[in-house]
Symmetry: C2
Subunit: 234 residues, 2 copies
DNA sequence: TACTATTGTTTCAATCAGAAACAATAAACT
DNA sequence: AGTTTATTGTTTCTGATTGAAACAATAGTA
């Protein structure tokens, strides 16, 4: 028989890898726990009568203020090594709570990994109750994270790379309208390699899902690029 | 606080889609619950101190007798609609158990989906404690299943199709040594379409991961095909 | 008006993929 | 033994796709 007075499902968590793109770099959001300096992925728990997807959306909404964002599940982590109750206890006591040794947060957890793609400039990251801060970090300079979170980031990046071409996934990292160069920079940041400009343009246009709009006169002394957007269905 | 006298983690289950190949058809294993006629995927629960992957392997071992098999996680199902406590209750009472209304099996569950690829001829399917029988069903003739299991099968097939080419995944459905024709039949069964023989052979050989062995003299009045196996690393 | 930086497009060659033809061969049949 | 048949292994031809470079257009600057 199962009792749980917290209102959350025990043993089940989620961790979210939130990708943004800025300054030609791919970045993710990391939180820092109160008074510990420990970094981790933003995560959370599932309410007793809440769909899993909804729980993750709720966490994203609270931390980014965004509601309609690209979100996808990529893997569920269920090993025993990932669980470190003594660390969890330190986090909770650093938060200056009175924690009993059988608190539900000290149990073993299975965590569902999600990744989100968001428009960096639309976000004002907000820390949650347990964390001091939430900040962007370059994906190629991720420091040591708690638990198995470095591994989770790696899996998320793998998944993102292999699914990059599906319906121009990557545009979720850009504003509504973008130049071909920006799109290529997103691809290059995710794949970690330079792409040929002419072939990239040919490939993107051949997908037939981009609308071309007015030109963007940036003031540079050169030809102005077109702006593009994803073609609306219908 | 969480109490659970069953020895299993509450709220967490797995469902396995076990693929086999026989008679040029792709098949999966389904169980039939005691005295109900209801069909479902073979699934199970995770022990309190057991890795998730290990729990799934344990279930496969008990039902197929096989130990070293290809097994991969593909999605975690966490909606609320998938939960049907009244059906679960009927299954348990049909098993003629005395079930209280707060039994842990009647709670809401999140289920991790795995698929396995096994050599059909090596398996003697064995029903578990709750099921009358376990049998093979053609994937293109799956009857109505309990809960969201039809959806889970669909997701598993999608995943299998899109990952089919990775390291010749499909050979896990065949014996150690196989002919090129058998391999092509597996591909065709999974993809649900006919492939060009010459191009298929060229593509498989170009991967450079097949060893060619002696010919297979089947007695037919025609050229004997070579046998192949996956190249061992090193 | 020439110059520069960047963008959009075209061209050329190399590679890959689909379809058909060709070659080889194990057994059966005369 | 020679012929036939079914199937397998390979090659060839063609068209499509991809990679790299050249070419063309253009917004601002000198």
């Amino acid at each position: 028989m199962t009792l749980n007075t917290s209102g959350y499902l025990p043993h089940i968590a989620y961790d979210s890898v939130i990708f943004g793109f800025s300054g030609e770099k791919l970045k993710i959001l990391l939180i820092e726990y109160h008074n510990t300096g420990w970094l981790a992925l933003p995560g959370g728990f599932v309410k007793v009568n809440e769909p899993l997807d909804e729980a993750v959306k709720r966490g994203l909404r609270e931390r980014t203020g965004l509601d309609q964002i690209f979100l996808e599940q990529f893997y569920t982590f269920g090993s025993l090594e990932r669980v470190k109750p003594e660390i969890m206890k330190k986090i909770l006591t650093a938060h200056d709570k009175d924690i009993s040794d059988d608190h539900w947060l000290l149990d073993r957890f299975i965590s569902v990994g999600y990744y989100a793609l968001i428009d960096y400039d639309k976000v004002e990251p907000t820390p949650d109750a347990l964390s001091d801060s939430i900040n962007w970090y370059d994906v190629d300079q991720i420091p040591e994270l708690l638990f198995d979170h470095n591994f989770i980031v790696k899996k998320a990046l793998d998944h993102l790379r292999t699914h990059l071409d599906e319906k121009l996934l990557s545009v979720n990292l850009l504003p509504e309208r973008f130049t071909m160069k920006e799109l290529q920079q997103v691809y290059e940041a995710i794949l970690g390699e330079k792409l040929n400009r002419a072939n990239f343009q040919r490939k993107m246009l051949s997908l037939g899902i981009l609308d071309r709009h007015e030109k963007l006169y940036s003031g540079g002394s050169h030809k102005a690029p077109y702006l593009y957007s994803i073609k609306k269905k219908g």
